[in-house]
Subunit: 226 residues, 2 copies
DNA sequence: TCACATTTTTGAACACGTTCAAAAATGTGC
DNA sequence: GCACATTTTTGAACGTGTTCAAAAATGTGA
């Protein structure tokens, strides 16, 4: 297949039109009719490509996640310590998201929050889960692996997921950060990264280690079924 | 004013009809028309009492928050330790929420998540912020104050807000807990409560204390503007 | 080029959240 | 009881997300 490049073009025009209007007018005030008109197609045709308005937001969010991955991975140099890696990844995340701060709330509601299992969901993309969770965790797996010194064995396996949780927390903070240019979120990142790294190192000490093990056990237990 | 008890009755019928339908059919499948019909009034009249469908969910959530407060406060006996208090409060939270697990996702989207500041929001209640955040923190203030032994001075002031954050985390977990009767959430509570309490005690030790101070500083810095 | 399947596009229709002008009910001062 | 303000209620209308049957465009094998 020459991969219907005509079809792909239409799809791209839709995403671009939607993104533009989402950013300038916000999510609520953009209409599917407006998006379709701007893209030069009919409303029904927009629904041929996207099963819902939310699905377009999800697509945008996913593409930002991919951009983040592409930006962050090459900066993980072998030998840097975990704190630097964490800082680099979290900063890249804010860099990528920055132009879309006005959509943050929407990202949260439609893409970042998982859809509860039993929901007859007309709109949500079939696979869904959380948009891009797996890929994001993979970035942290790489960050942990390339870090020198290596994090203690006791936590190494769970660290990627824990760091991803930290990223979720920072992103949540960013969404509701009303400071100019989300300065406070940047500060949060520069402060959080070394702190988490310190905590990881300290997890070698018996006292801290016991706590960390408890936390890890707790999270593992919470994740496992029944 | 004899406080228009007729008016209040209508309002209550609306909430009851809505709650019933939300629970049996879910949020999406209940319609304002259906709610109004069940309550024996016109659609427009429903909007006289509630500015939006979301506002009804918010009202329900708020009332659950109040129930939680009423259930938890009397159980905070002077002299119990912090872990027990935390466990009691978190369990009461799950107890109150349990019948509405199917609405959890909706609670999150419309009530628990704050509405971003600059949003022209037709629907969200004027005050909003986060529904019931202040009152919830007050419960933890009481829990800290009544706890014996008293938590270290270094963290005492920030503890209520931190514990509230823990509650938010647990609630988030509960919303997406697909285990039967949300058993995993109950387990999470019984495990988390003593762990957090232990952490608080350990915050007396220099190593842990430094970290805790860093975290507290970080959160304070993140909260303060500019 | 022709028949036929598949993909893409259309525009009208539907359902539902929300708004609103006007009517009805209720309250208030006399 | 009467005029008038206020609160409550109505039902029709509007805008928007979504669906759908049918048309148009494109691809495919001969």
């Amino acid at each position: 297949m020459a991969a219907g490049s005509k079809s792909e073009a239409t799809r791209r025009r839709l995403v671009e039109a939607a993104t533009e209007q989402f950013r300038t007018q916000g999510f609520e005030r953009t209409t599917m009719r407006g998006i379709a008109a701007e893209a030069g197609v009919s409303v029904g045709n927009a629904y041929y490509y996207f099963s819902s308005k939310d699905a377009i937001v999800a697509e945008l969010y996913r593409s930002l996640q991919n951009q983040h991955r592409s930006a962050a991975l090459p900066r993980l140099r072998e030998g840097h310590n975990l704190g630097e890696h964490l800082r680099v990844i979290l900063q890249a995340n804010l860099d990528v998201l920055a132009p879309y701060h006005s959509l943050g709330h929407q990202f949260l509601k439609t893409a970042a929050l998982p859809v509860p299992p039993g929901t007859r969901n007309s709109s949500a993309p079939a696979d869904a889960e959380q948009v891009g969770r797996g890929k994001s965790i993979a970035v942290y797996r790489q960050a942990v692996q390339a870090a020198r010194p290596q994090p203690p064995l006791a936590v190494r396996d769970d660290l990627p997921e824990l760091l991803w949780l930290v990223q979720m927390g920072v992103t949540l903070f960013w969404v509701y950060d009303s400071s100019p240019d989300q300065i406070r979120s940047r500060r949060l990142v520069t402060n959080t990264a070394p702190l988490v790294a310190k905590l990881v190192i300290l997890s070698r000490l018996p006292v801290v280690r016991n706590i960390v093990e408890d936390v890890v056990k707790l999270l593992r237990g919470a994740r496992s079924h029944d």
